[in-house]
């Protein structure tokens, strides 16, 4: 009984049992916390729709299954499968462009027998960093000039195909997940600086080649409040919801913006506004704390990974996860343009939960398959 509480926690998390079933108990705990919080907010955001909460719960369970399943798979198998997976998904993306199905003018899915649908771009979020990490796994770091070009090529092709569907949000995240690998691999700061300078110039040039309606769309994207009844409606209402929540919030299921339907997409992309309205700044801080737990554990796992492949992959996946969080909260609170990015583990929706849980499966695999020293 001389052990301090902290030592006992450490002992618990390092227990051999977890290692044996390839579970990272800290990561799992943080994820479960987020999921539980997410379900509570969803119950309110969906207008007390218990069916919705149940369906989301089922997705969590499936996601957990995928997570634990992937955790059993040692990283070296993933590495070997990476290039083949990449090629396979590129083929699927071509298929989507040719005979994909979808709604609202976007082709994102492939129809499967039995009425099921499948979104290849979602898988690319994982396969992209796997592929780039694989590319660097037997090369010396930091990458050289020609290697950077190859990697950029590998990134740009699927990204363009996804953007063409069009699915700008996913394309962006896929690109980012690849670029993160490049960054973690030690891409020279001068490249990064150069890109930071070139991007606005490229944007300026692009602007001149755009049609008026395209420009209008970009402007609305950048300043949605110029269109208060259209694109701006969402953002005005979400800011109102967040701001009116104040420090403590209006209380669970008491948010007038959410409950009276002023807030659109309140159970999907804009669910953070419901949380902010009903639980206030304190609720937001708790949520961000939960995400920070997950991300810091992810970065820890990456830093202590066994080889380059595992390190780059784990780091990139963790950072991509953060991008989700940042872009979503940034767009709902009105500092980023509105691109359809869900809030991971909180927003209602199918595919993204599975992808995200797969991500954490890979992280757990990286953490638990290290050879004992």
């Amino acid at each position: 009984m001389r052990d301090s509480f902290f030592e006992r926690v450490v002992a618990f998390t390092n227990a051999r049992l977890w290692k044996l079933i390839h579970l990272d108990i800290l990561l799992l705990g943080a994820l479960l916390l987020l999921m539980a919080g997410g379900l509570i907010v969803l119950y309110s955001a969906s207008g007390e729709n218990i069916g919705m909460v149940e369906r989301q719960g089922v997705r969590f369970i499936i996601g957990m299954g995928v997570c634990l399943g992937l955790a059993q798979l040692p990283p070296k198998y993933m590495r070997r499968a990476s290039p083949a997976l990449f090629a396979f998904i590129v083929v699927l993306l071509i298929a989507v462009l040719l005979f994909g199905i979808g709604a609202k003018g976007a082709q994102r899915w492939l129809g499967l027998p039995g009425g099921l649908r499948f979104q290849p771009s979602e898988l690319m979020k994982i396969v992209m960093p796997m592929t780039i990490a694989w590319y660097f796994s037997d090369r010396q770091l930091p990458p050289r000039y020609n290697e950077v070009l190859v990697v950029l090529g590998l990134i740009i092709v699927p990204v363009l195909m996804i953007a063409k569907q069009p699915d700008l949000g996913t394309a962006l995240l896929v690109a980012v997940s690849g670029i993160f690998v490049l960054f973690l691999a030690g891409l020279g700061w001068r490249y990064i600086l150069g890109a930071a300078v070139l991007a606005p110039i490229a944007g300026y040039v692009l602007w001149h080649f755009m049609h008026d309606y395209q420009r209008q769309r970009v402007l609305t994207l950048l300043d949605p409040e110029s269109d208060p009844l259209g694109a701006g409606w969402n953002i005005i209402q979400s800011k109102t919801a967040i701001g009116s929540g104040g420090l403590y919030g209006k209380g669970w299921m008491e948010g007038t913006q959410a409950q009276l339907n002023f807030l659109p997409e309140s159970h999907t992309d804009f669910i953070i506004a419901v949380l902010a309205e009903e639980f206030g700044l304190i609720g937001c801080c708790l949520l961000l704390f939960g995400y920070l737990l997950v991300i810091s554990r992810g970065l820890y796992i990456a830093a202590n990974a066994e080889d380059n492949y595992a390190r780059l992959l784990a780091g990139s996946l963790t950072l991509t996860f953060f991008v989700y969080v940042f872009v979503n909260i940034g767009m709902v609170s009105g500092i980023l343009p509105v691109v359809g990015v869900p809030l991971p583990l909180v927003s209602y929706g199918g595919t993204s939960i599975i992808t995200i849980m797969a991500t954490f499966g890979i992280l757990m695999s990286v953490q638990t398959h290290k050879r004992a020293r």
């Binding site: 037997d138 090369r139 010396q140 770091l141 930091p142 993160f180 960054f183 973690l184 691999a185 030690g186 209402q237 800011k239 109102t240 919801a241 967040i242 701001g243 009116s244 929540g245 104040g246 420090l247 007038t256 913006q257 009276l260 339907n261 002023f262 902010a276 206030g280 700044l281 937001c284 801080c285 961000l288 920070l292 991300i295 810091s296 970065l299 990456a302 830093a303 380059n308 390190r311 780059l312 780091g315 950072l319 953060f322 940042f326 909260i329 940034g330 609170s333 009105g334 500092i335």
Partner: protein, 624 residues
């Protein structure tokens, strides 16, 4: 190849490269999380008040709850303007897909006439509050109501509303006295507190309803409701109950009013009865009337056009606005004027020929009696209504004293205290003619005024007021409709009390009343046909020319179309020593004064002796 390289690689150093980048990433992550936190802090703490207000503006709506309108009672407690519940089919335009959709949905459920559709679409175009229901069909029958209720669930935006609506149980005969309420127009909103009338269904337009709108309306309550993004009311957050409008008790006697209206028969005309002791208006009839209930929920364009275009002018309030020559009913006032200024006396004798000439050989102003009346005095001039006497009197006096004296009886102005729209008539003077025609005043003009013709025009209300002043021997009250508001007597800004018209010789009041009494009782009196009552009557007949006959042209009653017949007028009060009621009655194109005189007698019988026909018992109220 790559395999060979591996042997030379420095794994430790490569791991450090990535580790450094992970540390850099962690710094970035913390930085960006701080940005998010800063943003949330800005929105939720610094701008909290702003967004809190915005959120409340979104969800909270203040709705006005219309108060119950005060009722209008006659002097015996008979309800003349009532509130009663009706069911109407209303539509919230914001919630229906389209009018075409609505038409399709309602087909086979309820019959909506093309007129109702037309009116509905008209109202859609007018200004209104968002989400305020518009009436599509009012006054559903129970069967219609039941039928609609079955299908209501699939008719989003359509509802059946139960509301209190104004109802005038006795309709036509009272329309011009009580007035009516109608749909609120933008013009109406200019003269009232817009806020208070949010949610109100109607506003008093004319008559007592119009004048006493501020009393009858009451004070609206406020319901604070929470609405969702589609404007649907979710729940009531708070409520200030409305204060009902005050009820009004009139001097009007419903039985007398209805009886007078009926006695006018098929004639157009007007009857005004006043209690000389109070100025209270006992009856205010303008015939034809109209059904005021048509206006309550918004009159249909068809009905309105029919009323507007009728040759009978049913919407025209003859009692307050009809301008008629007073004709011979002016003679008692002319007599008093002559006495006042010393132009005539009760004893002086006058030889009445069949005509009067201002200058020898000039135009002949004819008497109604061809051969003239012979030697007469002032009293006989009134009894027999001798035109030539009053021609010469007016000639002698000139217009200025006539104008000054007659104006003290309310001619040329309106003494009416509490109804809008009463006309002033015309009491001519030199200045008036100069202003109106830019012509000088001629002696002949005075002569015509002497028998209440020429430029002189008065309304039934004015003529009734004037005779009530005689009845009250100069200690009179301005005429008024309303006796009590709530349970307090009505006040009229200090104008409600007694007014005094003092003659140089106050005995002339009784003398003129005696002369007017003899109009009824004298064998040669023009009103003798109504003699024989157990109370005393003082009266004066009149027949007003509708158009001027040319000099020497004879009046041939049978040959003229009824429209051109003379107006028949009568003023009277009874009993003569303690008058209870003064009446003015006119039958447009009624020919002789017999008709209004007989009408007046019947009303006296009814009011003084309680001899109403049995059929009016339903309007008896609590009177004995």
């Amino acid at each position: 190849m790559s395999h060979r390289h591996q042997n030379f690689r420095n794994y430790r150093q490569e791991r450090q490269v990535t580790r450094n980048r992970i540390i850099a990433s962690a710094v970035f992550v913390l930085l960006l999380v701080s940005v998010l936190l800063g943003r949330l802090f800005y929105l939720q703490i610094l701008q909290h008040k702003v967004y809190e207000t915005k959120a409340d503006d979104n969800r909270v709506l203040l709705l006005s709850i219309p108060p119950t309108r005060g009722l209008i009672y006659d002097r015996n407690g008979v309800v003349l303007a009532d509130n009663r519940p009706i069911h109407s089919l209303t539509v919230v335009p914001e919630r229906i897909k389209s009018v075409a959709w609505l038409k399709k949905q309602l087909a086979g459920v309820i019959d909506i006439t093309p007129d109702e559709w037309h009116d509905f679409e008209q109202k859609l175009k007018e200004y209104r509050r968002p989400y305020q229901p518009i009436t599509l069909k009012s006054q559903l029958t129970d069967a219609q109501w039941a039928r609609v209720a079955v299908d209501l669930y699939k008719l989003d935006g359509v509802q059946v509303e139960a509301q209190l609506t104004r109802y005038y149980p006795y309709g036509k005969a009272f329309a011009h006295a009580i007035g009516y309420v109608g749909r609120i127009t933008e013009k109406d909103l200019d003269r009232v507190d817009k806020q208070a009338y949010q949610g109100a269904l109607f506003i008093g337009k004319t008559g007592v309803e119009g004048y006493y709108e501020h009393v009858l309306f009451g004070k609206p309550g406020i319901s604070k409701v929470e609405v969702n993004a589609r404007g649907r009311i979710m729940e009531e957050l708070g409520r200030t109950p409305p204060v009902p409008g005050k009820s009004i008790h009139l001097y009007l006697d419903a039985r007398l009013q209805q009886y007078a209206y009926d006695l006018l028969g098929n004639y157009k005309g007007s009857v005004v009865a006043i209690d000389p002791n109070t100025g209270g208006i006992l009856a205010l009839v303008s015939k034809p009337g109209f059904n005021p209930n048509l206006f309550v929920r918004g009159i249909s364009s068809k009905d309105y056009a029919a009323l507007r275009n009728s040759k009978e002018l049913p919407l025209f309030n003859r009692a307050l606005r009809g301008g008629y020559p007073p004709a011979s009913t002016i003679k008692p006032y002319m007599a008093l004027a002559g006495l006042q200024y010393g132009y005539s006396s009760w004893t002086e004798r006058y030889f009445a020929k069949g005509y009067y000439q201002i200058n020898p050989g000039g135009r002949k102003y004819r008497d109604w009696k061809r051969g003239g009346h012979g030697w007469i005095n002032l009293q006989r001039a009134i009894i027999e209504s001798v035109d030539t006497y009053f021609y010469q009197l007016a000639d002698k006096m000139g217009i200025t004293p006539i104008h000054d004296f007659l104006s003290r009886f309310g001619f040329g102005k309106s003494y009416l205290l509490d109804l809008y729209g009463a006309s002033d008539g015309i009491l001519p003077s030199k200045a008036w003619k100069r202003a109106k025609y830019n012509q000088p005043w001629y002696t002949g003009d005075s002569v015509n005024v002497g028998i209440g013709q020429g430029y002189m025009v008065a309304t039934p209300m004015q003529m009734a007021t004037a005779v009530s002043i005689i009845a009250a021997r100069g200690h009179y009250y301005y005429p008024r409709m309303v006796k009590d508001i709530g349970d307090k007597p009505a006040t009229f800004d200090g104008k409600g009390g007694v007014h005094n018209l003092i003659l140089k010789d106050q005995s002339n009041w009784d003398k003129i009343i005696t002369a007017m009494h003899k109009v009824i009782t004298d064998p040669k009196g023009t009103g003798r046909r109504i003699d024989g009552t157990d109370y005393t009557i003082a009266g004066k007949t009149g027949t007003g020319q509708v158009f001027s006959l040319q000099d020497g042209q004879e009046y041939e009653a049978n040959k003229l179309a009824k429209r051109l017949h003379d107006h028949a007028l009568f003023i009277a009060f009874a009993p003569i020593d303690k008058p209870k009621i003064a009446i003015f009655a006119i039958f447009e194109n009624g020919g002789s004064a017999a008709k209004p005189a007989e009408l007046t007698k019947k009303l006296f019988d009814a009011y003084i002796d309680g001899k109403y026909p049995k059929r009016y018992d339903y309007l008896k109220g609590n009177s004995k």
